[in-house]
Every structure is written in structure tokens, then in C-alpha cells.
Amino acid sequence: MAQQEIEMILYRHLASHLQTPVFLIDTEGKLVFFNEPAEPILGRRFAETGTMSAAELSSIFKVTDLDGNPMESDELPLAIALAERRPANQRLWILGLDNVRRCIESTALPIIGQADRFLGAVAFFWELDL
């Protein structure tokens, strides 16, 4: 059985204790974990879906910037953190599977483990009351 690295395990444990929605992706962009507060955003429960490929993940959301312009999946903070290995932050509108439009502030960070191991990225979401 594949084994997650300790940094990913600790991120998952941390996320499972947070009230803030958190997405955790691996180096391939696969969504390997999202916590309970993130479930309304995705409109799915992690216990039911398990992991999700990058393609599947990007098909779930309709994302626009604050001016209503559509955004490509590679423009999103999580994709930037993964591709460019740098933090990224953005306010945007998300239309999730539950058909609710939410204004979100998303901050994503690359996960660089001990001995400079690149392991994936994590995104924190904050729903804005606009």
C-alpha cells in the first residue's frame, strides 16, 4: 500500500481539526484530502468521494474573478502553488456542486518537506460575506 509522507499526514490531521475549509493535493494535482468544512464547497463528502483527480476537481467548480470574468483552473491559487512552488492568494467567486455562489478568499502554499522534498500543496479557504 502507498504510504503518505509524514508532512502530508500531519497536514491532514491538522485540517481535520480545523473549522476552516482545507484542500490538500499531491504533486500530480490530485486532491488527496479535504476536510469537513470544505465539503459544502465541493458538494461532496470526502468519505464518499475519496481522492479526486486534477481534471475531476477542476470540472466541479465554476470560478470567476471578482469582476465576474471566468478563470481557468491554472489561474487558481492552488494550481499556482503547485506549478510555481510559491504561495498564492486570491479572492474569487465559486459556484460549487450545491449550486450556491460563494465569494471565497483562497490562500495556497506549496508543501516542501524536510530534505527539500516537494510533496504537494495545501489551500485554505475563507468565505467572505460580500
Binding site: 504510504q3 509524514i6 499526514i9 500531519l10 490531521h13 491538522l14 518537506g113 524536510q114
Partner: protein, 280 residues
């Protein structure tokens, strides 16, 4: 045949005294000898002093595998005989730090005022190897290492030879942030190292009550360690890294109680200093 000798089984702080005579008071050190005579020394706690006397006179290379650099795992290093013997090759394998190299971090201990001799003044030939999640070979041994859940960069090791295996996870808190390992094996620290292993030497430092007060300190309670052994399907479990405040009588009571309540399907032998395990 692989021979595993427990030279130090105590956690955190050496605890010599009449009340700890049977399980032993020396800190972590385990010798693993392979069928072709290769010797691995797992951690360099105070137990390494007695290992010195057992070294074959003809041995000219020894490999020390450090799980991490907390003092109870390296305090004996300065007293390791081969380090001061010209012509000896000492390979030290350990985790890289997040900013300092293994040499820099070891030098913090092996230098005044903590120790009178600098690492550079040791007269053997010292070769340092930084490892993280890796696979490597030493003599007849195949070794897998992985970073595991403990405070500060910490490795676990799985050692295999001639179809037999031992996993060494002396300081390990796989239960941190989870309940009953409910996320499953993939998300359990150390699982891949321990899966199906013949001998599992694993942290079993606290009682459940002590764990509640010391959650996040990087250690397991005795019930958690048994659960981990069960999850990993280890064949023979050796609870290790006993708390320095636990007397022999207390450890007898705790392990007896745990075995009675869990009825594990695997063999259990609580680690005691001087114990020797041999694979068939």
C-alpha cells in the same frame, strides 16, 4: 540469521537503579548483526557503552543509524569506541535537518562545553550520510528509511536480510491528531516500514493518562503502540523506549494489563536490556 541485541531500552533519560534493573536503565541502542557479520547500531544512547565490549576485534567498519538527534539517542556517541580507533570506518546515517546539516547538528553535541572532543578530532574515518525517505544497502542488509511522526526530523528504519525483517521506531506518535488510526494505513505514520514485519521495536512510553497530558510530545501510549502493531500486522512486537519514571513492577503491570485486555494476535515481548532475538 539476523541477531538483534537490545543494549538500551529506556526513553528520554537514563534511569539506572534497583527499581529499573530488569527492563534496564540505559537509553536507546540496538545492535543488529547480519549473517555475514555486518553490524548495524541503531541509535547511540547510553546503551552503546556495553555494546563496545561486544565488538569483534576484527571488525573494521560499523554503521550507526540514528533515528534523530535527541540527547537520549546520541549521548553515547562520544563514548563509542570505534570513533577513537584509527583504521576504523564509522558510517553514521541520520536525518537531515531543516536548515543545518547532520554534521553541524552532531557537532553541537560533540564539542565543548557539552563534550570535550570535537567530532573532527575523532581518529577513525567518519562518513556521514543524510537520509530521509530512502532505500539503501549496507553489507547484506537492505534498509528503508522514512520520516515519521515525532518532534524534530526523525527517521524510522526497516532492515531486511535473508527474508527476515526488523522495524525500528523508538520514538513515534502515529496517533497524533487521529483517533484509533481511523484514517487507515496509508495515512498512518510509519505504516509502510512496519507492514508485516517479523520484529517491530516500537515506542510504548506512556500510560493512557500520561499520553493525555503529553500529546504531541512525539511518543505513544502502550495501548496505541499495540494498536499500531496490530494495524501493521507485525509478527513479534517489542514495546520499547520505556518511560524513565516507570519501574520494573509498574511495567510488568502495564504490559500484563494491556495483553489481557487486547489479547493480541501477535507475539509480545516487552524490551529489556540485554535481550537477544534471533531470526530463524
Amino acid at each position: 540469521m539476523m541477531q538483534i541485541t537490545l543494549w538500551g531500552t529506556r526513553g528520554s533519560l537514563a534511569a539506572p537503579g534497583p527499581e529499573t534493573n530488569r527492563y534496564g536503565g540505559n537509553t536507546s541502542c540496538v545492535g543488529v548483526e547480519g549473517p555475514e557479520g555486518t553490524l548495524l547500531v541503531l541509535d547511540a544512547g547510553t546503551g552503546i557503552r556495553r555494546l563496545n565490549a561486544s565488538l569483534p576485534k576484527t571488525l573494521r567498519r560499523v554503521d550507526v543509524l540514528l533515528t534523530h538527534l535527541h540527547l537520549d539517542h546520541i549521548q553515547g556517541l562520544g563514548f563509542f569506541g570505534p570513533l577513537r580507533q584509527p583504521g576504523y570506518e564509522v558510517h553514521i546515517w541520520g536525518p537531515a535537518g531543516t536548515s543545518l546539516s547532520l554534521r553541524e547538528r552532531l557537532s553541537r553535541y560533540l564539542s565543548p562545553p557539552l563534550f570535550p572532543v570535537y567530532i573532527r578530532d575523532m581518529t577513525s574515518s567518519i562518513v556521514l550520510h543524510e537520509v530521509a525517505t530512502d532505500n539503501f544497502e549496507i553489507g547484506e542488509f537492505k534498509i528503508s528509511s522514512a520520516l515519521v511522526g515525532h518532534y524534530d526530523p526523525t527517521l524510522g528504519f526497516r532492515i531486511e536480510t535473508a527474508g527476515k525483517s526488523v522495524t525500528y521506531l523508538p520514538d513515534h506518535e502515529p496517533a497524533l491528531g487521529t483517533k484509533d488510526f481511523s484514517a487507515g494505513p496509508e495515512w498512518t505514520s510509519g505504516y509502510a516500514l512496519a507492514a508485516g514485519v517479523d520484529f517491530l521495536i516500537h515506542d510504548a512510553q506512556y500510560t493512557p493518562v500520561e499520553y493525555e497530558m503529553r500529546m504531541g510530545w512525539g511518543h505513544s501510549s502502550i495501548p496505541q503502540s499495540f494498536q499500531f502493531a496490530g494495524l501493521s500486522e507485525a509478527k513479534h512486537f517489542v514495546p520499547f523506549h520505556h518511560d524513565p519514571n516507570h519501574s520494573d513492577n509498574e511495567l510488568d503491570r502495564l504490559f500484563k494489563q494491556q495483553i489481557r485486555s487486547m489479547k493480541p494476535a501477535f507475539k509480545v515481548t516487552p524490551a529489556a536490556e540485554g535481550m537477544v532475538f534471533k531470526t530463524d
